[in-house]
Subunit: 556 residues, 2 copies
Amino acid sequence: MPAAGPLRFVPLGGLEEIGCNMMFFEYGNEIVAIDAGLGFPGEETPGIDYVIPNTSYLESKRANVRALIITHGHYDHIGAIPHIIEKIGNPPIYATALTKAIIEKRQADFRNSPRLKIITVKNGDKIKLSNHFSAEFFDIAHTIPDSTAVLLRTPVGNVVNLGDSKIERDSQGHPLGLGEYERIGRENILLFTAESTNADKPGHSESEYEVEKNLKELFAQAQGRIIVAMFASVLTRIGEAIKIAEKLGRRVALSGYSMKANVEIAKQLGYIKAHEGTLIPLEEIHKYPDSKLLILSTGAQGESNASLMKILNGEHRFVQIKAGDTVILSASVIPGNERSVQTVKDNLARQGAIIFSSDIVDIHASGHAPKEDQKLGMQLLKPKFLAPIHGYYYKRFVNAQNGIEAGISKENIFLLDNGEVAELTASSFRITGETVPASYVMVDGLGVGDVEEVVLRDRRNLAAEGMVVIITVIDRRTGRIAKNPDIISRGFIYLRAHQDLLEEIRKRLRNLMSQLPANQEVDSDYLKTLIRDQIGQYLFTRTRRRPMILPVVIEV
Amino acid sequence: MPAAGPLRFVPLGGLEEIGCNMMFFEYGNEIVAIDAGLGFPGEETPGIDYVIPNTSYLESKRANVRALIITHGHYDHIGAIPHIIEKIGNPPIYATALTKAIIEKRQADFRNSPRLKIITVKNGDKIKLSNHFSAEFFDIAHTIPDSTAVLLRTPVGNVVNLGDSKIERDSQGHPLGLGEYERIGRENILLFTAESTNADKPGHSESEYEVEKNLKELFAQAQGRIIVAMFASVLTRIGEAIKIAEKLGRRVALSGYSMKANVEIAKQLGYIKAHEGTLIPLEEIHKYPDSKLLILSTGAQGESNASLMKILNGEHRFVQIKAGDTVILSASVIPGNERSVQTVKDNLARQGAIIFSSDIVDIHASGHAPKEDQKLGMQLLKPKFLAPIHGYYYKRFVNAQNGIEAGISKENIFLLDNGEVAELTASSFRITGETVPASYVMVDGLGVGDVEEVVLRDRRNLAAEGMVVIITVIDRRTGRIAKNPDIISRGFIYLRAHQDLLEEIRKRLRNLMSQLPANQEVDSDYLKTLIRDQIGQYLFTRTRRRPMILPVVIEV
């Protein structure tokens, strides 16, 4: 087959933020995308549900999109699917069995979304995706079962994407699974797109084995009930907790919608094994002694709508904290959630729980390889080119350093931004200078992409200083105020308690009006500008605050 | 002198939050307060500048307030002074020389504030505060020079408050300054109010000696300019950085208002020593080679108005980052600031800086003693009663555990909340059940305490969902709409781009009006409720968002 020019590689999301992971490869008229995740917003985007990658480019070439490969079932890798899949032409999705089930579960929440075409793959499978692309799936370690990595064979060479990965270790601390890295490393890797989440953390991956050992000890010590709060997505550890509970003769109840849903899926597919009778409905916990109970709950980050928060606030139908409960927060705190997690601990302590968190004892292991394991992976995969992805610039920058330390030559390492187009040949990597749209798409309520920057800017301003609506009714003939102006404020100061300020605003409005030429029509835009400027200035002088001033002029 | 009942002890702030530290002791008609700090707001209080303790009780007994003791010059211990001092009767303030200078510097920023009566004390001083109270000041280690601890002698017994403190160690790791703890411990301590900031951190205090050693190494390695970002309040380390720079022949320039102000004060009082010519104005750095420059800057937390942010954004008059700059972030990240600090690192990396932060190398030591040093202090002070203060409930709860491990009997340890009144005699400690007002007082703009909870709730709602103002003009005689309704929205969706939604709202308003009885006066409150409910419900159905609906009905 004749060459159709170089391979184009474009990261669409995940490079300037946590989440939103998505990238694509394009060769001639064929495009293969990998992952389609969502991201959670920060302080800069108040009120937004989540953000997803911008797929405009893929939409414009929807006929060319031949495959969407999904590496694992976490929302930062699958969450955008319901929003984008139809727009990019509903291409076949390649995913492992558990990942497929989680994608389909989520899709069911979206009415009117199309039926997905998911092709189940398993590690070891070699699959032809299109004329130019084929994929080989192989095993890596992460915190959810059935994670996969992909070796993408392209006309210019082989590309490796590990999805999210860590290097697991056995009880002796020996690394596991390096055979796969070595085997793939013999395939002459042209490009490795390396995730950078923990690239700046020193050392090796924490071991899930250690975590399980510590959980076992804490479980064995506990006298009363045990409540473990964790992400519903760390299914590997959830399965292990259930196993430990069985050994100690504890029943397991699940609390939280996503916890129940995920465990149900994983059980059906055999990824979580539990004896008959181990799992009991939450409403039956009162039938068992406290020392025979384990409750697995969502909410380790203090998420306001999670089950643990309902328990803490006394709003849960079946569970309240009681003195002597052992509560284990098996998660590391995601930056930005520190204050919420502190509140969770405060409330737990006030209610008499015995608390263990991962900053005190190792009861959480990240699913992302730190520095030394990044280097180990790079040394075994031996890529010609390295493109750190999946992480803020600094993390990717440090991962580039890791690459250099792992023996990849500096000029073969490239830090792209979301939307930047790179072109690869068998011997070259070039950032072209071309970009495709990559600005966030915001999902808020039912709307996708209809929350514009102007709306967010208003939200930020309203949150900081509030607003004042000033309604002036004018007699069209005389150009004079026809009624006492209505003034409404929210988020500024409590005006009812500041009648003097209200009176002063009204007085100034009358003064302002009296300076306008009489007996002619009022230029209401001009009047609005006057009100905005003069009343805004007055309020600032009086209060040092700058509420948004919204003048309304009504002529009657 | 006859006993005037028990000693009353009331913490006013700092127990449920970071900052706002303040407490008082009351005996008969005499009150002594310790510290008067401010706190920074969280997501729950958008737009607020800061919060201060509620001093209503002290205001109502202002004639009895005999002394305000200030332990050290950090804003979480002095920041409320300008706002409260007059209200509590402008009592004498007892503070060390550096603390005094910092308080006076801040006071000068507040016009119309009263002249303070500050009595300079030094460690070792024993001072009679009133008939019933006297104070002995003694030395503890913190991150600002001239910190002091206080032994408060009261008619029922001795109380110890260490302010903020850590236990410093020498180059061999031997603890320093324990002699003072031992000496005070021989004074038969009735109550120890122990700060709990790091009570849940395992181990001993990190050593400032180690920090200085590491800074020395980083300074010695650096080829180009060195920029150290740190709090302007860690004056001890600032002084040390200047010393190291001198040894390496580097000039030092200060960037940031508070950095300049604090160093100036500390230099005048001799707490920072610098040779003639070491400190140079920032505008003259171009006269020296990069290898001979150290810049000390504020902004290690990514604070938006700090000097480092101006440098990074290209808005600084004299400093821009250039490739080869070594930038040292000598601070630990305060919970909530993670995202801002990540942005700082991303921008620094993009601009070519060599970055060191305290999660990678020990270049910051906290000023607050962790677990093992808490216990050591308690063992040496040997208090009868322990009241953990200064920290969220969980931290204070853990500090209570530290107390038990240090040999204090469990029933002699008390966890109070802000505003709870405790009564002490020579042999008893009792939480009375009485409370004094202790809700936050919010400072925003020029107003103190005029931002009510209702305003904050509005700000949070506005930030999340925005608002829609609907202005309906009604003909008084006919009860019918006289004009096309005005609709203004902010922070909801961009209505100009959704004319269909606007039209539909107007249509529904007309429908709604047509259902009202004709030819009679309209009950405008009833109409407003109808509009709020029906239009609100419609917008929710259409958008899954609940903007604040503000109906205005104008009759003409």
